[in-house]
Symmetry: D2
Subunit: 388 residues, 4 copies
């Protein structure tokens, strides 16, 4: 039997980080469809993110993306976030949109370009120092499009060198989180294509380096929860970039494509101790809204993670263990599915009401008039983001 009050307590401690860029325009290579009220400044993105936290209560931090969120005074930006009821979270380094990075950033064959990329990474650590952010998230678009284009192994040497330099620059309470991705924008080799590559580098870098699992960055058929379980066992799981996909890196709302997979991932997180704050896992969203309204889509994603977490917490661990140990294939599967098939929405509504929130965050936000207000106010200017 699962203890419902313990489940509720665990759910109250949940913390999901929102990406500032999810509030700005984004899209596919074919078209970026704009939306009314799109933020024009980092502050406006933070204000939008604060709305998500206001209605869900479990999204208290916002990740920055540099240079998209460049400001003159980062301490001031952090203070602004606190005023909005949230805080600045992970700092994401962008070394893929400068013309110099056409053939790579930290793995570029040109030492001058590599130095430029490294300078940007150092600058991001500077932003962390100013905002109090603890985590530097590193995703490298580096790779090649054609066989022979560059030396695969030399690029690993360059990568290792850059990562070491970053590690040496980190403060004692700061981490570097290394993200992997199978492909895109590189189409032949990618320099950090899978968890094994990220893990191997992080192992050498030491305790301040950990792996980030973006749920959309795997080959078809990859069992993501296995990776999660494995990295937790090694204490090398640094965090998640949650989103969902049917095909490639579709970057759809979390839980939209395969809610059962999201549940299985959250189950392994819980089972492996990753839900314990002491483990330090950063639960981040990273999705690319193209056709849906951004703030409600972030609320929906947060709720989807929350529902999957509630189901994972509801798994009867004792019954599952007994069935597993006795080799009862159908019985063990049934214990897990019983939790998944439970409709946890009433439980979560109750939880919200107990905490003084509206039981239906989507409806409450819709009623608030916020979307209409920003559409009216945010006229002119240019959105700060993606293709900015």
């Amino acid at each position: 039997m699962t203890d419902l009050s313990a489940v509720k307590a665990a759910l109250r401690g949940q913390s999901i980080e929102l990406p500032s860029w999810a509030f700005a325009n984004s899209g596919t290579r074919f078209k970026v469809f704009g939306q009314p009220g799109v933020p024009r400044t980092p502050q406006e993105k933070i204000a939008d993110a604060a709305q998500v936290h206001r209605y869900t209560g479990i999204a208290p931090s916002v990740a920055l993306h540099i240079p998209w969120d460049t400001v003159d005074d980062y301490a001031e930006l952090a203070a602004y976030a606190r005023e909005q009821g949230v805080r600045v979270g992970t700092v994401n380094a962008n070394v893929f949109q400068d013309d110099d990075f056409k053939l790579g950033s930290v793995t570029n064959p040109d030492p001058g370009v590599r130095a430029k990329a490294l300078d940007h990474l150092f600058a991001c650590i500077g932003v962390m120092d100013a905002t109090g952010s603890a985590d530097l998230k590193l995703w490298f678009a580096d790779g090649t499009n054609y066989p022979g284009q560059d030396d695969v192994r030399a690029r690993q040497d360059r990568l290792a060198e850059a990562l070491e330099a970053v590690r040496d620059r980190l403060g004692p309470d700061q981490r570097m989180l290394l993200e992997y991705k199978l492909f895109e924008p590189a189409f032949y080799t990618t320099d950090v294509p899978d968890w094994g590559t990220a893990y191997a580098h992080c192992l050498k870098l030491g305790d301040q380096a950990q792996v980030v699992v973006d749920t959309g960055h795997h080959a078809p058929g990859t069992n993501i929860e296995f990776i999660v379980a494995f990295l937790l066992r090694e204490h090398k799981l640094g965090g998640f970039d949650f989103n969902s996909r049917f095909y490639a890196d579709d970057d759809l709302m979390v839980g939209a494509a395969d809610p059962f997979q999201l549940f299985r991932i959250m189950y392994e997180v819980v089972r492996g101790g990753g839900y314990d704050p002491a483990e330090g896992i950063a639960f981040m969203l990273d999705q690319c809204h193209n056709i849906e309204a951004k703030i409600p889509a972030q609320i929906r994603s947060v709720l989807n993670v929350q529902e999957a977490t509630a189901k994972a917490l509801l798994v009867d661990a004792g019954a599952l263990d007994a069935a597993q140990r006795s080799g009862d294939v159908l019985g063990a599967n049934a214990v897990l599915m019983d939790a998944y098939n439970t409709d946890v929405r009433p439980l979560l509504a109750e939880l919200r009401e107990e905490d003084g929130r509206d039981p239906d965050p989507m409806a409450a936000f819709a009623r608030s008039g916020y979307l209409e207000a920003i559409a009216a106010e945010r006229v002119g200017g240019r959105q700060a983001g993606w293709g900015a």
Copy 2:
């Protein structure tokens, strides 16, 4: 034994169509890397395409993309092409970059948007009338991102209605070529996701409707040459959009990722009669150069198709048939591989020299100074293409 003079004659008759947009800037959703000398007008794209034909001798036509290649006077554009030594080929309709098409074009739930999309398709037929183009290529980005977002079946009804309207507008010597694509930019359903869907619609539309196979538009593991063989048997193969991919729709240079697959495709084309001009197959390139120089990359792609074709023509049909009929698995495979393993570059160099061309088109173009000239001349203005 294969008759080499017949092979050469067949190779002399080859005709590959270049896409105007391949000469303009393009890229991934993360970044479009610009290049010096990028064309600013449809005329400049045609001039660049003419260079490819000049050095290869087998790329005599250029596909247009509307509205990227919009001009006031299409007849004049066609005349310009002829002056350059090429001709205007297929007209490609773009109904995916207008804000109104966010939720689809011809399958949009809004009838007003559907009408707007159809008007654009009619306008493209107008361009065909003016330029003498015979083929209208239809690729629809239409689809949905989320389960439930729209009615999958109703979208098929709308699609069928639009396609019929287009068919009714075609002149007697015009065709419509329907392209399919598994995903992107739609990430849950795509309205024409596979050859079966395209085929079923074309069958109802009649003889003027045929299927286009883009070699990058399939699920992993799909046997493309099977589709080619099947459609040829049904006389429903209208043409190809050649490019190559390791992962999704990577749009790399033709033959760069899997030259053996390209050979197998060309073998089925030859075997199924698709190389006979009477069959009317349009051999088009459609690739998206992001990091490589565009004109040389088009030359490389044309040469790769030519080499694969030469190998396909070299297959000893008699020996293959005998081995197949006798159930000699290893023997039949060996006949095919013998052709593939042949280095046809000397044969093709000889062919070019016999025709008064430089035996090495890549080197000849590089020596010509054309790239340096356009980089110097084409300063200012804005490229006409992709995100234009």
Copy 3:
């Protein structure tokens, strides 16, 4: 609002067919793990299948597989089934386990082998005549392993010829259901690899030929519910072989790998009229139990289909249509997800109790002692099935 009594009535009309071979031993190429009590005769398989119907009430028919289920007197077998409370359903033709079929059956390059295969198909129609079965299910393992091994197009000619001969032999109330499969056991080309190929053949064969969708037979990323919706629109969907997979044709229990996909499929069935008995869709299970107890696994699969169907029936069609028409992406998705997230198990338990059944079929069967009884009784003899 959905009418619950209508949902219940619809669920009472559900009919899922069980495969006789699912009760016999089966496995992977690496090992077939046997189980105690495995059926030694077709009658014992039917008896086991009848247990599934007894506890679920919605599995009233059993598919045969010839020659695995060969008996001297098929009318007697049909009578035996009726005594057990079920009936004989689809007849499945096996033309892949005879040594002569090494290079194919109906598409074999050897005309003698083709004739032998056709004779077997005719014999299966004879079984249908004797048992009163209405449907002949055709899955061909035919294909090639190596490029060049056989002529892809000639194999289509041979396939078409065989299918026409089968069609001509069918009685007026009989159907042929053509199944497709991407790969395995053929690893280069498969002669009916996808729905498009099956559809094209069925179209020419006329009204008595329809396509079967096996949910495990697609390339990664294929949107199966799109195919279902498309075939229903064309009235060419003949039925399903339900099972589930994470990777290839894993043949796991239905709904075990992706319950959300199963729901989406059943939603398209309902939406497209396929749940109406008049449409004649055969809902069959086809899974390959290797490590789990077979009868309980079939009960579990039937329940999983039932739960997915209940959720599909609960979708608020009016609300969905309104959201779709207004372009409300998040709203439309939410309507669908609301049904999916509903825990329908209490509703189904209530339904069973109203019908005089145990509310928990798995537990009731476990209590019955049937498994223990057959393990004790069925000693000696050889199982009739798979590798028999």
Copy 4:
């Protein structure tokens, strides 16, 4: 410029290991098609393997599979091999075909089964001691079919424990080679599913543990040559199981599905120093012949590896490096492709003639009458292998 005499010398030093099981019957889960002359004893398998070496000159060792190749006196078997002109190579442990291993071997939830599995692994080391084999190859079919079936993390603990026990038993000149595989026969989780998992375990196990790359064991889209380059950089690549695939683990002849990929792999081997005997890479074949004659298919595979190696050795390293460093995407790709497009068959024929062999191994073996002889002699008895 590449030095041809150095290329020839390198090719003369090549050594490819043959799997004993490739000469026995094998197949798919649907059917194992037998062949005349199939070996009935380990000795007959070795005799067949010796034929491959006789005609190619580069296949001097044969891997054993225990228990398929169980004999009373392994020293005698090793002596027999030497008489045949070959030697016993890697010992492959089979812990997947005993009924006790239904839910796993070394990761089974039952400690008794785990002990039994470990005993078998120790017995395999005994075979190594007796035959002088240096390498123990470990492939575990262990995994689960259903979510919840067993504890993913506990299975890693059990795996680590077993691997340590094996490592402790190894002699100082022996290695353990850990193979990974994405799926099959397990269909939900596999305990060693990818190179990252194998690498992480090997790292902890120390210098005597290395990773084996089976070219058919990856998710669609995986860049295998990247893995090869990465493991070589870490000195953790122990060897290859070569075969080829279009879909899953098809186990086709090496180089049959994607000869360009095989070339790219061999290029990374050469570039990363893996072709140097001092690196100790074991180049093994592992394929599953179902419809093709086994000995000729092994010859074909050896020749395909040899051709890919020759092309890899022909790459102009200086020109490639210069183009890569200057960021010349098309130029660098062209250097690599120039080698790949070269027809190396004349060079290899010349090499064989210089060494006193027939220039055409396939034809020479066919002329030898060996196949006819074994078909006549090996009558009766039962094949020793796969499903034996």
